[in-house]
Amino acid sequence: EAGVAQSPRYKIIEKRQSVAFWCNPISGHATLYWYQQILGQGPKLLIQFQNNGVVDDSQLPKDRFSAERLKGVDSTLKIQPAKLEDSAVYLCASSRDTGELFFGEGSRLTVL
């Protein structure tokens, strides 16, 4: 079974630029999550999707972050404009409805 796929693995941008990350969950997993992991900290949930609907986005900075999962499979996370403090690893995870979360390897963002 293929795992959660994420791209790009690494991205370096200047502040105020935009960036997008892509996630392909495990086949059949209805729930998809985006986490932000700042260096030295635990992952923090940004947004959770159930199929193509948002379950929770209370910790998503909506003035600059957006995410979508239009067809209930792949998802994109966008940051525009980026700030220095957005430097982090962005982890995508998927699960069946209430089961174990499987994480991708993450997309490491550096904002200069």
């Binding site: 959660v4 635990g42 923090k44 949930l45 174990e100 979360l101």
Partner: protein
């Protein structure tokens, strides 16, 4: 807000010794707890979980203990190996809140040969 935290940021053990990683949680509504292992450059990997109706669960070389009275969780690794070197996170889940995990800050385990 309520959160999950860890007592020790770094733990150094000798290869072959047992390791104990601790975690405190504060959300009394949490009913499911998970330990994750994260190696450098990789995403967190599930190790073991425990539900709130249990106080102990054993895996192949790992044991998780849950003390709901003092809201404490621990991960015990028997005969620690160099491959166990990683950052370990505990996470809590309240299934009434839609299967959302809240992670603690992590403990780095370093295994000396």
């Amino acid at each position: 807000g309520e959160s999950v935290g860890l007592h020790l940021p770094t733990l150094s053990v000798q290869e072959g010794d047992n390791s104990i990683i601790n975690c405190a949680y504060s959300n009394s509504a949490s009913d499911y707890f998970i330990w994750y292992k994260q190696e450098s450059g990789k995403g967190p990997q599930f190790i073991i979980d425990i539900r709130s109706n249990m106080d102990k669960r054993q895996g192949q070389r790992v044991t998780v203990l849950l003390n709901k009275t003092v809201k404490h969780l621990s991960l015990q690794i028997a005969a620690t190996q160099p491959g166990d070197s990683a950052v370990y996170f505990c996470a809590e889940n309240n299934n009434n809140a839609g299967n959302m995990l809240t992670f603690g800050g992590g403990t780095r385990l370093m295994v000396k040969p």
